[in-house]
């Protein structure tokens, strides 16, 4: 179930390039934390360090500590595969498995984790699709390919796939940036419902979205192009948008740069 994330002194590299430097923050369970900041500030990179997806990029490596409750995700002997089974992820562009049916897409994670009875699987698929507010739209065509759905539906399918395995944390990397406003609204509603069960971290370019969906907001920035991104501040979303404690945050939010 939902767990607390506690990051300390995290630095990530692409080869010799330092992408983010010395980031520390705490993410509370059953809350939505939004990452905002200009392009290239490392917010997506940071997100990907939270489920050890950063290191699948050639040259990607990480220093520092990410505690999930009392387990260090980067501790020696921790299998990244196991980490990813407890920290789910939704990507910028909807990426259902194109060769799988809607049902199989949602069941994919469960099948990785072990064998299930058919009825069990069907229950979880139904529950997850309902959880992703997609059930009513697809219940009559569960055996059709997931790639036949609209972009917004595909993204909710990916959310259903991610929550089917009951992760502790759900990471979302600009989940609405490829969607139209109405599909975006559907996802935002969904995030509001999901935060009762999961710890959610969302990267977004859309500041209104951060203001609408999140409880806490973290602002990332970089000193100059080529410099590593840093966490400037993290605070309650209301405070970040009304009265941030750092000038750069206010400049960014009020549209003076970025």
């Amino acid at each position: 179930m939902a767990k607390r994330i506690d990051v300390s002194g995290l630095t990530a590299y692409y080869g010799s390039h330092k992408a983010i430097e010395d980031i520390s923050m705490t993410v509370e369970p059953r809350s939505v934390t939004a990452f905002i900041g200009p392009s290239g500030c490392g917010k997506s990179t940071f997100l990907r360090t939270l489920n050890r997806m950063h290191e699948v990029t050639p040259g990607g490596r990480v220093e520092g500590k990410v505690m999930l409750d009392d387990e260090n995700l980067y501790g020696s002997g921790v299998d990244p595969v196991t980490v990813r089974r407890t920290v789910g992820m939704v990507f910028q562009r909807p990426n259902p498995f194109p060769t799988m049916s809607i049902f199989d897409n949602v069941a994919a994670g469960l099948r990785l984790n072990g064998s299930y009875k058919k009825s069990e699987l069907a229950d979880v698929v139904e529950r997850s699709l309902k959880g992703a507010n997609l059930w009513n739209e697809v219940k009559d065509r569960l055996n059709k390919p997931g790639s036949g759905l609209s972009g917004g539906q595909q993204q909710r399918l990916c959310i259903a796939r991610a929550i089917a395995v009951e992760p502790d944390v759900l990471l979302m990397d600009e989940p609405c940036s490829a969607l139209d406003p109405i599909s975006t609204l559907a996802i935002e509603d969904l995030i509001g419902e999901l935060k009762e069960r999961f710890t959610i971290v969302i990267v977004t370019h859309n500041m209104q979205q951060a203001a609408r969906v999140s409880d806490r907001t973290a602002f990332f920035n970089l000193a100059a192009v080529g410099q590593p991104g840093r966490l400037i501040e993290i605070d309650d979303t209301e405070r970040i948008f009304a009265n941030p404690s750092v000038q750069a945050t206010e400049d960014y939010i009020s549209g003076r740069f970025g």
């Binding site: 489920n51 997806m53 699948v56 050639p58 595969v81 196991t82 980490v83 990813r84 089974r85 407890t86 789910g88 992820m89 990507f91 562009r93 990426n95 259902p96 498995f97 194109p98 060769t99 799988m100 994919a108 994670g109 990785l112 984790n113 507010n133 009513n136 739209e137 390919p145 790639s147 036949g148 609209s150 972009g151 917004g152 539906q153 909710r156 990916c158 796939r161 991610a162 395995v165 139209d180 109405i182 599909s183 609204l185 559907a186 996802i187 509603d189 969904l190």
Partner: protein, 331 residues
């Protein structure tokens, strides 16, 4: 429930490619249209004339055949009466190609996966190059290598197979003799089609979109599970195409087979026994000394090979088309 809207229910557009509209008749356009249309028609003309030539000569040949062209186990167009049939050749061609596919395709997919997903970059590039080099070896060299190296060295394997797998019937060796058998030919063909199947599969595997693989990774898939969930399904139709290219080569391979096989006009499912024949090998072996009827007869057998290849390709396209809805192409 979240808002469901009409836009949400519309299927994604799957329209045809852009249509630039009617040309306004610029010179460059006209020349280009003429060239491309001409090339297209040229291919059709070449195909049609080959088919017409083969059919014409084949009919001449078959009409003088006193035996049944499809079922006769003999090739004697110079005899009196002339008797010849393709049964042995069809059997030999199909069997040796099947052996080649069974051996080559799994290995090729394995190599392709290793190069595209497992090997460190420093190793992958040279390895890919070496595999491609295999394709550059002329087939007569394969034939000589097969006859001088493979045949003697496979005798041990043949004995072993005969000793432990004779109960499968196909691996029972009932005739004494060196390994100039369909089985040896199959192994040789497997090596020969390995590079084409490998390099096409490799290219397909490299094209798997990053986001498909990350989808599996993020669910906690191991490397093998990523390959099973994302790479293989995406590459499926590509591997089928690659195999068909390889099969096309195996079916038509001439010199290597002619050099290794000791031909005979017998059908035997004891694959280790020497003997048998294939279309291409038979044509190569007999064309020079054949008279007019003999050549027509060989051309008739060539026509059957042509049709066989067409059927195989058609079947492959059917398999690919049937899975189109689920292929990676419409992701």
């Amino acid at each position: 429930m979240a808002s469901t809207t009409p836009t949400d229910l519309t299927p994604p557009p799957t329209g045809p490619a852009l249509d630039g509209g009617k040309s306004t008749g610029r010179l460059g356009d006209k020349i280009f249209i003429g060239l491309s249309r001409g090339s297209g028609i040229l291919v059709l003309l070449i195909m049609a004339s080959i088919a017409a030539f083969l059919t014409y000569r084949a009919v001449l040949g078959i009409s003088k055949d006193e035996g049944n062209f499809l079922t006769t186990f003999d090739w004697n167009p110079a005899g009196d009466p002339p008797v010849f049939g393709i049964a042995v050749l069809l059997f030999g061609t199909v069997v040796s190609s099947i052996i080649a596919m069974v051996i080559a395709v799994p290995i090729a997919v394995g190599i392709a996966l290793f190069i595209s997903h497992y090997a460190p970059r420093r190793l992958a590039a040279p390895l890919a190059y070496v595999v491609d080099l295999l394709a550059a070896v002329p087939s007569i060299i394969y034939g000589i290598w097969g006859a001088l190296f493979l045949v003697p060295y496979l005798e041990g394997l043949n004995l072993w197979l005969d000793q432990f797998f004779a109960w499968t019937y196909v691996f029972e060796k009932t005739e004494v003799g060196v390994a100039r058998s369909l089985f040896t030919v199959g192994i040789l063909l497997a090596i020969m089609i390995l590079p084409i199947v490998t390099s096409v599969s490799r290219e397909v595997f490299l094209q798997v979109p990053r986001m498909n693989e990350e989808a599996a990774l993020a669910l906690g898939a191991t490397r093998w599970e990523v390959i099973r969930m994302s790479v293989l399904p995406f590459g499926r139709s590509g591997v089928i195409s690659a195999s068909m290219l390889g099969l096309g080569r195996a079916l038509g391979e001439t010199m290597a087979v002619a050099t290794v096989l000791s031909p005979s006009f017998l059908i035997s499912l004891h694959l280790l026994n020497p003997g048998g024949g294939t279309f291409a090998q038979n044509i190569a072996a007999k064309f020079d000394e054949a008279d007019q009827l003999g050549r027509d007869a060989l051309i008739a057998s060539g026509l059957v090979l042509f049709i066989l290849t067409l059927l195989v390709n058609g079947a492959a396209r059917l398999i690919i088309a049937r899975r189109k809805e689920y292929s990676g192409a419409n992701a």
